[in-house]
């Protein structure tokens, strides 16, 4: 059976459809691996295959799928990494999950994450941290760290996650897999437990670019239940590009500093891998030049005002009344709210609620939240100007490779700098993909490409051509 585990999701779907392997047999092989998960990647694993299981004539032919715990799944724990939602079993399923199950996917398990998707290491989970399969002393990135680790370790064929400021792309980078954040609105947010509603997007975490395209093709679409969702102008297609002839790649000067004032923020090994990938891109026919995103250095500030502000409003719903934890005793209503939230939320979520509440409070609104929304306009304008000359913007996905557990937990700002290269894209609502570009000291490095809104097919094509040239070997992470 281990030979089946080595297949990519697209290959496995082909074998299932050709009846070379049964869906139940493949599900059970993955379920055994997921149940034996020693990375803490899962917070819930299915007891067995669904009955009946989708047949070989369905589009995804019964292939198992791991789902970030931020997605609501009817009757199945959906806890968003939080104590305040411990044991919560929602009465409905997220549209994106529903679409995938309708296409013939089977739910293998729910994956661990930073609480309410707030974090870059999956250390902020009430269910304990996730370990990186490349080195178990290190973090898998976050917030979709469980999904990324499960795919990298081969205990899931593929997974879905969510990205608000980098939560798909950064863990994909740190775990040596592919992660794609679609254009804002491409996937419905219905049933996705809300963090920052103007930024949150669902997307695939997969072993390769072809799998990302296949998974995404079944996720996108307008949903009457999410009025911000938009029909893609064209269906997502499986990429086939073999070269990058005529493609112009722009390297934003402002992001290469990686957030450090002296421009040394990006680790030398990450920079070397990034530059080697650019050489390969040139070999495939791309032209590479520097470009300017003048407001990109302010993206992190804008993000850490807008996202907490929206979170402080979204998380007001956890008040011990309709679902989740209640800590009451003989307290009155107001005290019950405070106690429930004080005990139910972890430190990072409390920090962001406080920051967001402050940024929205009377007398500070214009100076913080209002200013951040104006910066957002400037960032979108910067990208529009770059895309008039370049097809894609390219950066390292994360300034660093996977760091050791605990290395950044005492310094929230250092943790936030993880997102330096990934936050500008969601602020502008544009799609971006991270693919592995190689190893630095034995740890994976991510290469990010970002394109204009709804350029997913071109982005996937470029990433596919580059992926083939790079030839990243991820087998080591699956062998442990």
């Amino acid at each position: 059976m281990s030979a089946w585990i080595e297949l990519t999701a697209a290959e496995a779907v082909a074998k299932l459809r050709a009846r070379e392997v049964g869906a139940r047999e493949l599900f059970e092989a993955y379920r055994e691996r997921a149940a034996a998960d020693d990375l803490n990647a899962y917070t819930w694993v299915a007891d067995g295959a669904p009955d009946p299981i989708p047949g070989p004539d369905t589009r995804l032919a019964g292939l198992p799928l791991a789902v970030k715990d931020l997605f609501c799944t009817i009757g199945i724990p959906s806890q968003a990494g939080s104590k305040i939602l411990k044991g919560y079993r929602p009465p409905y399923t997220a549209t994106v999950v529903d679409k995938l199950l309708t296409a013939g996917a089977t739910l293998l398990g729910k994956t661990n994450q930073d609480e309410f998707a707030m974090g870059s290491s999956t250390e902020n989970s009430a269910f304990g941290p996730v370990l990186n399969p490349w080195d178990r002393r290190r973090v898998p990135g976050g917030s979709s760290g469980g999904s990324a680790a499960a795919v990298a370790a081969g205990i899931a064929p593929w997974a879905i996650g969510t990205d608000t400021g980098g939560s798909i792309r950064q863990p994909a980078a740190l775990c040596g897999i592919v992660g794609l954040k679609p254009t804002y609105g491409a996937c419905s947010r219905y049933g996705m437990i809300a963090f920052a509603s103007s930024l949150d997007q669902a997307g695939p975490l997969t072993r390769d670019v072809t799998d990302a395209a296949l998974l995404l093709s079944h996720m996108v679409g307008h949903d009457p239940r999410d009025s911000t969702s938009i029909a893609m102008p064209e269906p997502i297609t499986v990429p086939t590009a073999e070269d990058l002839n005529g493609i112009r790649l722009g390297i934003p000067e402002e992001l290469l500093g990686g957030g450090a004032e002296d421009g040394t923020g990006i680790e030398p090994g990450v920079r070397a891998s990034f530059e080697a990938a650019l050489k390969l891109a040139e070999g495939l026919g791309a032209t590479v030049d520097t470009c300017r995103l003048p407001h990109a250095p302010h993206a992190l500030s804008a993000y850490y005002l807008i996202a907490p502000a929206e979170a402080s409003a979204n998380l007001a719903r956890y008040d011990g009344v309709r679902f989740g934890l209640r800590v009451a005793g003989d307290a009155d209503l107001e005290t019950m709210y405070g106690r429930t939230r004080g005990e139910g939320f972890g430190p990072e979520v409390k920090r962001r609620i406080m920051l967001g509440t402050y940024a929205l409070s009377s007398g500070y609104y214009d100076a913080y939240y209002g200013a951040a929304q104006k910066v957002r306009t400037k960032i979108a304008e910067d990208f529009a100007a770059v895309f008039s000359e370049f097809h894609f913007v390219v950066t390292p996905t994360s300034p660093w490779t996977a760091f050791e557990l605990g290395a950044k937990t005492d310094d929230p700002l250092a943790m936030y700098l993880n997102d330096f290269c990934t936050v500008p894209m969601p602020l502008a609502g544009i799609p971006a993909i991270s693919i592995p570009s190689g190893l630095s000291d034995g740890l994976p490095v991510g290469f990010q490409l970002a394109g204009p809104a709804f350029s997913e097919n071109r982005l996937l094509d470029a990433a596919y051509a580059l992926e083939r040239a790079i030839g990243f070997d991820a087998r080591e992470a699956r062998s442990a």
């Binding site: 254009t183 407001h295 402080s312 934890l325 409390k350 100076a367 929304q373």
Partner: protein, 91 residues
């Protein structure tokens, strides 16, 4: 800090408040840099994708089942959500 915690309905103990004051001031020092920008003439963006006047047909559709919703409530009472007394202040 206490005022913001009250606005956010968060009960924090003394240690948490002190630690958070230090951490948040570091974050605020960083985000304060956006004040260097001249944003006077810039329109704010609340939504990255250009969408306007999104309306659906004003027709009733089935909603979630009451019992299924109440099954997740910490203290359902008589087919509704139970809450403690608003307290003497009645705010």
């Amino acid at each position: 800090m206490l005022h913001v915690a009250k606005l956010a309905r968060l009960q924090l103990d003394e240690d948490e408040l002190q630690k958070m004051a230090v951490e948040l001031s570091a974050v605020l020092d960083h985000v304060d840099r956006i004040r260097e920008l001249d944003l006077e003439q810039v329109e704010p963006t609340s939504h990255a994708v250009d969408l306007a006047g999104v309306m659906r047909a004003d027709q009733p559709i089935p909603c979630l089942d009451r019992d299924a919703v109440l099954a997740a409530a910490p203290e359902p009472v008589d087919g509704g959500f139970g809450v403690p007394s608003p307290g003497p202040s009645g705010e």
